[in-house]
């Protein structure tokens, strides 16, 4: 078990004089690293200081300072607080920052995202292409001077919204056709790609179709998705097959991209809360928590006891229903004709009943507030939760265990396939059940406890094989551990207020940065929020576990069969609302 270590006094500026300075802006922490020394500092942090898990890489546009910043958050898998370090570059194209992919391969997709959204060129990145927007996209949408269609103002609430007590839709004022600005000479109707697919296909390695026995075989290129029943939404993987075996694979995403983060910057702090529901729409409760955590850190507000307990209860119920659905859907991916999925849905509905009772909505809960919760448990809900936790769910988890774990076909399909070593899993920034299945006991609830998780007695579930079967076992056991936490939380639930101070629409958030991260059912969910003292966040970044866990997809799939690919994608547990943001 990982024990959180005490904050070490690490003075990077003394170690790298001249190249590293402490970030002295008010409300900021961490270090500012010179671009030229980035790789050296990163290697030092990983190899000597033990910050082996790169949690998040993200860009920030400081338009008033004419600076573009790339922020790195690295953590130790043994637990404890992380280290923030930043690289600043002048805001003049081309903005170049060295890529940290050689140090942390897990930065791969994230750096592509920053290139796409901020236009920061990462020198040395193996495959720097747009990832969330389409190939013909003009500009980099997260830059502060980039204006979206129907642009009105930088920040909500828009002044025009209630002119004479009536809402005027943006579309009325700005009819379709006049709402977009294009580059000089760019006509969207006439735009032809210089074959963007070609770039994608060449990034799949070229294989000379020659086998050892000299017989030429054709490789089949299969587009799994975007319309495919097993990609859990509009996700696409381009797969090159040699017969049934996967030779090469590239994930293609962004079909559901809505620039969640830009919307987040336009919104006020509280307006963002319901938007977080839509990220991982199975677990709106945990999404709320991550965001509330980040903003509470900035505001320095404490959460009342009762609210903390209810938060834990909701988050763990959310985890149980996520894992139940995962088990059912995973079996569906393996072809099991909906029977396990429907068994799982039956239990999930009961949990959603509780969410509906407390939040008013089954899936889009929007239940958390900064410093507490939206409302208290209604009468009778606690009894329902008790019934579920103490009687029904434990038996159901056991039933799943009995029906599935020893199932010959399940074992044959899952065991020994897509093995991920613990070293690789950490290097690729995998988090959540996939990482724990590889044998790394890293659970943020234990590694850097948030809320009141330090009070509960539970085990961090690990397996050693790192294969798909291990991922299944980890999730099954995690449901039991969640029930264990739930029992303690219900027993300890105190009376009292559920929010600090009066509930308010407009919170005052002091300037600064904060990174709130929680152990979401799918992995580490992080929110990086920067406030400049205004009612809207200056930067709102979501570290989505579904997105970053896909970095290792190619590594996990190559050499396997096409039938395994579907199952591997299932065991990663992605959800497209969060992946494409």
């Amino acid at each position: 078990m990982a024990t959180p270590t005490l904050t070490e006094t690490l003075d990077l500026s003394a170690k790298f004089p001249g190249a590293v300075t402490a970030d002295a802006r008010p409300g900021y922490t961490g270090w500012i690293v010179e671009a030229g020394k980035l790789l050296e500092v990163a290697a030092f942090l990983r190899d000597e200081m033990g910050y082996d898990l790169l949690s998040s890489v993200t860009g920030v546009d400081y338009l008033p300072d004419e600076k573009m910043e790339v922020v790195y958050q690295a953590y130790k898998t043994t637990g404890g607080p992380g280290i923030f370090f930043k690289v600043q570059a002048p805001r003049l194209d081309p903005i170049e920052v060295p890529s940290v992919v050689p140090i942390w391969p897990g930065a791969d997709l994230q750096e592509r995202e920053i290139w796409d959204l901020y236009g920061v060129k990462f020198t040395g990145h193996p495959d720097l292409r747009r990832i969330l927007t389409w190939e013909g996209f003009s500009g980099h949408p997260m830059r502060k001077d980039w204006k979206e269609a129907f642009y009105e103002e930088d920040a909500k609430p828009f002044k025009s919204r209630w002119p004479e007590g009536r809402i005027k839709m943006a579309e009325e004022r700005n009819p379709f056709g006049d709402n977009v600005t294009f580059d000089e000479g760019f006509d969207p109707e006439k735009w032809t790609s210089n074959d963007p697919e070609e770039a994608l296909y060449t990034s799949l390695k070229k294989y000379t179709a020659e086998t050892s026995d000299g017989i030429k075989t054709d490789h089949i290129l299969v587009n799994m998705g975007p319309q495919h029943p097993s990609t859990h939404g509009v996700f696409r993987a381009v797969v090159i097959l040699d017969g049934e075996t996967v030779v090469s694979l590239k994930p293609v995403m962004g079909y559901l991209h809505r620039n969640h983060e830009k919307i987040g910057e336009r919104n006020t702090f509280l307006q963002n809360m319901p938007y977080t529901d839509r990220l991982d729409y199975f677990n709106s409760m945990s999404n709320n928590w991550g965001y509330a955590l980040a903003v509470e850190k900035l505001m320095g507000v404490a959460v009342p006891e009762r609210a903390e307990y209810i938060r834990v209860i909701m988050a763990e119920l959310s985890r149980i229903q996520n894992h139940l659905i995962w088990t059912g859907m995973m079996l569906n991916d393996l072809g099991a004709y909906f029977t396990p999925a429907l068994y799982a849905f039956e239990e999930r509905e009961l949990i959603l009943d509780i969410f509906e009772a407390v939040a008013g909505s089954r899936m889009m809960c929007n239940y958390f507030r900064f410093g507490g919760l939206a409302r208290d448990l209604p009468e009778g809900t606690l009894e329902k939760i008790k019934d579920l936790v103490f009687d029904r769910l434990a038996a159901k988890v056991d039933e799943f265990d009995r029906l599935l774990t020893e199932n010959e076909i399940l074992v044959a399909r899952l065991k020994g396939i897509s093995k991920l070593s613990p070293e690789d899993a950490v290097a690729y920034s995998m988090t959540g059940p996939v990482l724990r299945a590889a044998g790394v006991p890293y659970d943020i609830r234990r590694a850097e406890p948030y809320g009141i998780y330090d009070r509960f007695d539970f085990d961090v579930v690990t397996q050693t094989d790192g294969d798909m079967y291990a991922r299944y076992l980890v999730r099954l056991e995690e449901m039991r551990q969640s029930l264990r936490i739930l029992r303690q939380a219900i027993a300890g639930l105190p009376e009292g207020p559920i929010i600090t101070g009066k509930p308010q629409y407009q919170v005052r958030v002091p300037a600064g940065e904060a990174y709130g991260r929680i152990e979401a059912p799918k992995g580490e969910l992080g929110y990086y929020v920067i406030s400049n003292g205004k009612p809207n966040p200056w930067r709102y970044h979501v570290r989505a576990p579904s997105f970053i866990n896909l970095t290792a997809l190619e590594k996990m799939c190559v050499g396997g069969k096409i039938a395994d690919f579907v199952a591997i994608l299932g065991t990663i547990d992605i959800v497209l609302g969060e992946l494409d943001r």
Binding site: A336, K561, A563
Partner: protein, 313 residues
């Protein structure tokens, strides 16, 4: 050839007990399939006419022939499939309703005809110019080679036991000497045949060539409208005549008494429910695993059944 027999032959083939009869009962049985599935999954399930509505809707839709397909193969494949099912069902049901009919070796012909739907899937998939179709076709090819071995071994066991390759004689033999099923070899052969039928019907865990969640239907991926309807119809017919065939060769034909007919229906339903339960409670095997299963376990079991039959057990 006697032209006077033509109307009767057409009647047999197209209406009763050929195409129309088998298709209607087959669709009703797919409703049974859906209802049983629904009960197991604690759902309500569709009304009885749902399969008819589905086929009707498909038939009313345009069949899209994608650009670049091999048109002849693409269009003829569903027809071949339905022809195979129709002719095979004629042989099975003539044996059931007219025990004196049939011809020498009709059992062998039946085995060939019953593989036609699988072969037409291969043709259709390979001509569809879709990678999913191509992979599905190659998977189906491997699967046919694997599961037909078990299917044949089970039939040969029955042939050895009853000493005839003529359907009506097998039935007559069982009417006198009791069902083949109640012998060691018969029992093993029946189990082998049940699992091979699971694969022949494209049911889980052996629906590898279609694999909705992997190949989005494999050979069927590019089919729409009439083409898809014919494939579905052919599947529904197989879902009727294959279980009937199995019940017939292992337990003999029913006599003309209410009890015997009811008994026959119970046996038929038992086979159907077994097939359905296997289908809805298992995940799909991978191609290599399924091939290994059929070549080693099923092949071995089939050989053991045959050996017992040769020993007279």
């Amino acid at each position: 050839m006697n032209w006077a027999n033509l109307p009767l032959a057409l009647l047999y083939t197209l209406i009763f007990p050929g195409f129309l009869f088998t298709a209607i009962v087959g669709l009703l049985l797919t409703w049974v399939d859906r209802k049983v599935t629904a009960v197991v999954q604690s759902r309500m399930g569709p009304p009885w006419f749902q399969p008819f509505a589905d086929i009707g809707k498909l038939l009313s839709k345009r069949m899209i022939v994608p650009k670049g397909v091999r048109t002849v193969g693409f269009i003829s494949a569903p027809l071949l499939s339905i022809a195979g099912s129709t002719l095979a069902s004629v042989i099975v049901f003539l044996a059931l309703f007219d025990p004196s009919g049939g011809f020498m070796g009709d059992l062998i012909v039946l085995v060939y005809l019953s593989t036609l739907p699988a072969i037409s899937l291969i043709i259709g998939g390979a001509s569809s110019r879709s990678p999913f179709g191509a992979i599905g076709a190659s998977r189906e090819m491997s699967m046919v080679l694997a599961y037909e071995v078990g299917f044949l071994l089970a039939i040969v066991t029955v042939i050895v036991q009853t000493g005839s390759i003529r359907f009506s004689e097998i039935l007559a033999h069982q009417a006198q000497n009791g069902p083949v099923l109640w012998s060691i070899s018969g029992f093993i052969a029946a189990a082998v045949m049940l699992l091979c039928m699971q694969a022949k019907l494209g049911f889980l865990p052996f629906d590898i060539s279609e694999a909705d969640t992997e190949l989005i239907g494999g050979p069927l991926a590019e089919y729409s409208g009439v083409g898809l309807a014919l494939f579905k119809l052919s599947r529904a017919m197989m879902f009727f005549f294959l279980p009937v065939f199995m019940v017939l060769i292992f337990t003999g034909a029913p006599q003309f008494s209410l009890l015997s007919i009811l008994g026959f229906l119970v046996k038929l339903l038992t086979v159907l429910v077994l097939l359905i339960l296997i289908k809805i409670t298992h995940a799909r095997l991978r191609l290599d695993q399924a091939l290994r299963f059929f070549w080693t376990k099923i092949g071995l079991a089939g050989l053991i059944a045959l050996a017992f039959a040769l020993l007279g057990l």
